[in-house]
C-alpha cells in the first residue's frame, strides 16, 4: 500500500538534473515527485522541571525518553523552571510532550470537565492544555454534570473508559509524598496534609513548643508571588489558601461551610442557592468582609476585565485557575449584607456546590486591577493586572496574614486573630474537630536549593518540616537523623505525560495509545520512585468513581506495556507501530504525513 521510499536527495538530484537539462518533462516529473516526499523520523521533545525542583520529574522524563528511543523515535528532554514550564505548557501551548504533576482531582469527577472538554481547548491554565477534542467525551462530561445517581455514575465510568482509550495524557505514576518533620514543637503531622491549607490547621502545638512553624521548601515561587489567580506561580495553592478563605472547603468528600455559615437550595430548576456568611468577617486590613465582596469575586473571576457584563462584544478574560468552579455559576446576586443568591448552570446540586470553593477577594483591593496589562506603556492585551500582579502584600480574610517576604528566600505569615477560627465564642461551627485554631503564631517559609538541603535543615533543627515533598533517596538521611522523622503520605496528584494534540503524530489517538504502551508504570513506581508510589490508569484512581476494569492488576489493562521489567520488546513495538500505519527505516520510526 505504502509507496516505496523516495529519498529527498533523489528529488533534489532530479531537480538539479532538470535545471541543467532544462527539459520540461523532467521538471514536471520532479514536481509530481515532490508531493511524495518521504516522511522524516518521528521527533518528540519532552519538557519538564530539573532535579532540583522536583525529586522525580526529570528521572521519569528520561526513563520515558529511553523507552521512546528504543521504539525508534528521536526524543529529547528539556528541563526548565517550574514557572517557565507552566508558562510554556499551560499558557502558550508551546510543547509537544510534558511531564508534570496533575492537580488533585479527587474531590469530584466534574474536575475533569475543564481538564478535557473541548470548549476549553484554547484556554490558558489547566483547562484542557492538551487541546483534546472528543465529541463523545464532551457529551459524557455534560451528562455527568447534569445527571445524578446511576445515570451520572454510568456517564463517569464511560468517560473514564474513553479517556483511557484515547489518551489525551498518560498517567505515569502516583508518588507518595515524602516529608521530613520534627516533632519537637508541633504534633499531629501524620494527619496533616501539607499540600492543603487545611493540613496546616490540623497541627497541634507541644506545651513547651516554639510558636514559630518553620517550613522549608524547594519551590521559591511563593516568595515572589501570592496571587491566587496566577497559574504559573501556584503548585498546590496551600499557602495562598491560608491567606484567602473560600465559602466552603471539601472535607472528607463533603463540601463544608467555611466562610459561609449555611447554604440552602431555594429552587431546583433553575438551581438556585442562598448562601449566608458568618458574622463579623473582616479582611486582614480591618475592612469588613460583606456579601458585596463575594459577589464581586465571582464577577471578577468570571471576567477579570469586568467589561463583558456591560459590553457584549468584549471578550471575557476569566481567571485561569478557577474556570471549573466559575463555569458552574450563572449569576450572583447580593440579597443583603450577609447573604448572596447563586443561580447555577444546568448541573446537579453536588457539582454546583463546587462553585463555592474559590477564594474570596476584597473588592477594595481588586477593583483597581481590571485594566489590561501594559508593559512600559505598551498594551500587550490578553491579560489583566488581576492575573499578572504579584499581589504582595496580599489582603485576605484567611487564618494567616502576610508579614513580609524576601523574594527567592523566604516568606513570613502570622496568625490573624480576627479569623472565625480564633474567636473566643467559636462553638459548634460544623467543622470536624481536627481543624482547630492555628497552632502557631508565625509561619516562616524558607527556600533552599534541593530536597537534600531541605532535609538537612530539618535534621539540623533549623526547620520543623519540609513543605514540598522530597525524593525517596533522602529517606535514609531522614532515618539516620535523630531530630527528623519520616512522613510518607499517599499523594493525590499523579505524574502525567501530557500530549499536545495539535502536534503532528500526537493528534492521532492511536499513536498516543501506542506511545502509552511504551510506558511501564510498574517500573516507574518500583525503580524510579523506589517503591514510594503506585501505578494507575485513570486520574480518578483513588475515588469511588473508578471502574473496576481500569484497576491496575499485573499491568495496565487498557495500554499494557509492550515488554517486561522496564525493557521494551523492540520487535513487538515495531509491529504495533506498523499496525497503525508507521514504518521503520534504518531502525527509525517514520510515518505520518509531513
Amino acid at each position: 500500500m505504502t509507496p516505496s521510499p523516495v529519498r529527498r536527495r533523489k528529488i533534489l538530484g532530479t531537480l538539479g538534473f532538470g535545471l541543467v537539462g532544462i527539459t520540461g518533462g523532467c521538471l514536471r516529473q520532479a514536481r509530481s515527485l515532490a508531493g511524495w516526499q518521504s516522511p522524516a523520523q518521528v521527533q518528540l521533545e519532552i519538557k519538564t522541571v530539573p532535579d532540583d525542583s522536583d525529586p522525580y520529574a526529570l528521572r521519569i522524563a528520561r526513563t520515558v525518553a529511553d523507552w521512546f528511543d528504543a521504539a525508534g523515535i528521536e526524543v529529547g528532554v528539556v528541563p526548565m523552571s517550574e514557572q517557565e514550564l507552566h508558562r510554556q505548557a499551560l499558557l502558550r501551548n508551546e510543547f509537544e510532550l510534558f511531564v508534570m504533576r496533575l492537580p488533585n482531582l479527587s474531590s469530584d469527577p466534574d474536575m475533569l470537565y475543564t481538564l478535557l472538554h473541548s470548549r476549553f481547548a484554547d484556554d490558558p491554565g489547566w483547562q484542557n492544555p492538551f487541546g483534546y477534542a472528543n465529541i463523545e467525551v464532551d457529551e459524557l462530561l455534560d451528562t455527568q454534570r447534569r445527571t445524578r445517581g446511576t445515570r451520572r455514575r454510568n456517564a463517569v465510568t464511560q468517560l473514564q473508559r474513553t479517556v483511557a482509550q484515547t489518551q489525551p495524557f498518560t498517567m505515569l505514576v502516583v508518588p507518595d509524598d515524602i516529608r521530613a518533620f520534627s516533632p519537637a514543637s508541633f504534633t499531629n503531622w501524620r494527619a496533616a496534609d501539607l499540600d492543603s491549607p487545611l493540613g496546616y490547621l490540623m497541627l497541634d502545638r507541644e506545651p513547651d513548643g516554639n510558636g514559630t512553624l518553620r517550613v522549608v521548601v524547594t519551590d521559591r515561587r511563593a516568595t515572589t508571588n501570592l496571587n491566587p489567580l496566577a497559574v504559573e506561580f501556584r503548585r498546590t495553592g496551600a499557602l495562598t489558601g491560608l491567606i484567602y478563605d473560600p465559602l466552603g472547603y471539601v472535607i472528607d468528600g463533603r463540601l463544608t461551610p467555611w466562610l459561609a455559615d449555611t447554604w440552602e437550595f431555594t429552587s431546583s430548576s433553575p438551581l438556585v442557592a442562598r448562601v449566608s456568611l458568618r458574622d463579623d468577617t473582616t479582611w486582614h486590613d480591618g475592612e469588613p468582609l460583606t456579601a458585596d465582596d463575594v459577589a464581586f469575586t465571582y464577577r471578577l473571576l468570571a471576567d477579570t476585565t469586568l467589561r463583558s457584563e456591560t459590553d457584549e462584544d468584549a471578550a471575557p478574560l476569566p481567571s485561569p485557575r478557577h474556570r471549573g468552579p466559575i463555569s458552574l455559576v450563572e449569576t450572583v446576586r447580593v440579597i443583603d449584607d450577609r447573604s448572596i443568591e447563586f443561580r447555577f448552570v444546568d448541573a446537579n446540586a453536588t457539582v454546583a456546590l463546587r462553585a463555592l470553593t474559590v477564594p474570596i477577594l476584597p473588592t477594595h483591593v481588586w477593583q483597581d486591577r481590571t485594566d489590561p496589562v501594559s508593559l512600559a506603556g505598551i498594551d500587550i492585551g490578553s491579560a489583566t493586572e488581576a492575573i499578572v500582579t504579584n499581589n504582595i502584600p496580599p489582603v485576605g480574610s484567611g487564618p494567616l496574614q502576610f508579614v513580609r517576604n524576601t523574594p527567592r528566600e523566604n516568606l513570613v505569615l502570622e496568625r490573624f486573630d480576627g479569623h472565625f477560627l480564633h474567636r473566643a465564642e467559636r462553638q459548634s461551627d460544623g467543622l470536624p474537630g481536627l481543624i482547630d485554631e492555628v497552632a502557631f503564631d508565625t509561619l516562616t517559609v524558607q527556600v533552599v536549593g534541593s530536597d537534600v538541603a531541605a532535609v538537612g535543615m530539618v535534621a539540623d533543627e533549623n526547620a520543623d518540616a519540609t513543605g514540598t515533598p522530597v525524593g525517596a533517596d533522602t529517606v535514609p538521611r531522614i532515618g539516620r537523623s535523630t531530630e527528623a522523622e519520616l512522613l510518607v503520605q499517599p499523594s493525590r496528584s499523579a505524574y502525567i505525560l501530557g500530549y499536545n494534540t495539535h502536534h503532528q503524530h500526537l493528534n492521532n489517538p492511536r499513536f498516543r495509545h501506542t506511545l502509552a504502551r511504551l510506558i511501564d508504570g510498574t517500573y516507574l513506581s518500583e525503580t524510579v520512585l523506589d517503591g514510594y508510589g503506585r501505578a494507575a490508569v485513570g486520574p480518578l484512581w483513588n475515588t469511588s468513581w473508578y471502574p473496576d476494569e481500569l484497576e491496575w492488576s499485573e499491568g495496565n489493562p487498557e495500554t499494557p506495556f509492550i515488554g517486561s521489567d522496564g525493557a521494551v520488546n523492540v520487535n513487538r513495538v515495531r509491529e504495533a507501530f506498523r499496525e497503525i500505519g508507521y514504518r521503520y527505516d534504518d531502525d527509525q520510526l517514520v510515518g505520518g504525513t509531513s
Binding site: E45, P50, D52, L58, M80, S81, P407, S450, V452
Partner: protein
C-alpha cells in the same frame, strides 16, 4: 566563617612559602604603591562583583525571556561524559574534590592578588583584576543568553549531585539556590584558568606559584565535572572565556601603561 578561616590559613602557608622573611619590608612598600595604582581597577572589579550579585537574580528572569535553553544541545554533544568521570568516585576522592572546589578555588582566586601586590611591578596585579572583571562581566552576559542545567540536574539517575548530597550546607554557603541555570560557561573553570594563564605569563616572579596555580586550575576544572555541577562543554567554554579575558585584559593594560597616562577603566563587559 569556616570558608574564611580556611582561606586565611592557606594564604599564610602560601606567603611563608613564597615570600622570604628578609623581603617583607620592601614587599609592604610595594603593596602600598600597588594598591594606590590599581585603586580604580579594584573599584571596577568590586563594582562588577556587586552588580553580579544584584543582576544575577534579575538575569535569571531576563534569561527565561530572551535566552536559549541549550541543555538538550549540550547533552547531544557530549552525552554521558560527566557520568563516566563520576564513575571513579570514592569517598576519599569526593572529599578531596569537594575541598578543591570550595576552598581550593577561593584560595586560587585570592592568593595572586596578595602575592602580586607584594612585588614592585604593578602590571600583574592590574592585569589580574582587569581579567577577573572581564570574566565576571562576560560570564554574566553569557548566562543571560544561554540557559542550561548542569548534569546533576539533567541526568540525576547517572550523575549524583555529590557535593550537595554530602555537604548540603555548601548550597546555602555558595548561594547556589537561585542560579542553577547558570552553568554555561563554568566561571569556576574560567577564573581558575585565568589565574593559571597569568601565573604562566609571570612565571619568573614565582615559578613555584606557577606550578601550584596550574595544578590547582586543572583540578578545579575536573572537580566541577566530578561533582556533577558542570558539563565538559561548560569547562571548555570556561577555558575559552579565560583565554579571551586574559588577552583582552593584556591589550587594555599594555595600552594604558604604554601611554603612561592615568589608567583608564576598560569599558568592556559591562
Amino acid at each position: 566563617m569556616q570558608l574564611f578561616a580556611v582561606i586565611v590559613a592557606l594564604h599564610l602557608i602560601g606567603l611563608l612559602l613564597f615570600v622570604p622573611a628578609r623581603d617583607v619590608p620592601s614587599a609592604l612598600r610595594n603593596a602600598r604603591s600597588n594598591i594606590r595604582q590599581v585603586g580604580p581597577t579594584a573599584v571596577l572589579l568590586g563594582g562588577v562583583l556587586i552588580a553580579n550579585s544584584f543582576i544575577r537574580n534579575a538575569g535569571v528572569d531576563l534569561a527565561w525571556l530572551i535566552g536559549v535553553n541549550i541543555t538538550r544541545g549540550i547533552y547531544a554533544i557530549e552525552g554521558t561524559f560527566v557520568a563516566s568521570v563520576q564513575s571513579v568516585a570514592t569517598p576519599a576522592l569526593t572529599a578531596f574534590f569537594s575541598f578543591i572546589y570550595v576552598f581550593g578555588y577561593a584560595f586560587l582566586l585570592t592568593f595572586p592578588i596578595v602575592i602580586y601586590a607584594l612585588i614592585e611591578d604593578g602590571e600583574p596585579l592590574l592585569l589580574t583584576l582587569v581579567a577577573y572583571s572581564l570574566n565576571y562581566g562576560l560570564g554574566l552576559v553569557s548566562y543571560v543568553f544561554f540557559i542550561a542545567y548542569g548534569p546533576r540536574n539533567y541526568m540525576p539517575e547517572l550523575v549524583e549531585s555529590i557535593l550537595f548530597t554530602n555537604w548540603p550546607q555548601v548550597q546555602l554557603l555558595t548561594g547556589l539556590v537561585n542560579v542553577n541555570t547558570n552553568v554555561f560557561p563554568s566561571l569556576h573553570a574560567s577564573l581558575a584558568v585565568t589565574v593559571a594563564l597569568l601565573a604562566i605569563r609571570f612565571r619568573e616572579i614565582h615559578w613555584h606559584w606557577t606550578a601550584v596555580a596550574t595544578g590547582l586550575a586543572v583540578l578545579i576544572c575536573i572537580s566541577t565535572m566530578y561533582l556533577g555541577i558542570h558539563w565538559l562543554t561548560d569547562v571548555v567554554g570556561g577555558i575559552l572565556l579565560a583565554v579571551l579575558s586574559v588577552s583582552v585584559a593584556s591589550r587594555l593594560v599594555t595600552k594604558s601603561l604604554g601611554t603612561g597616562s592615568v589608567i583608564r577603566l576598560p569599558d568592556v563587559g559591562l
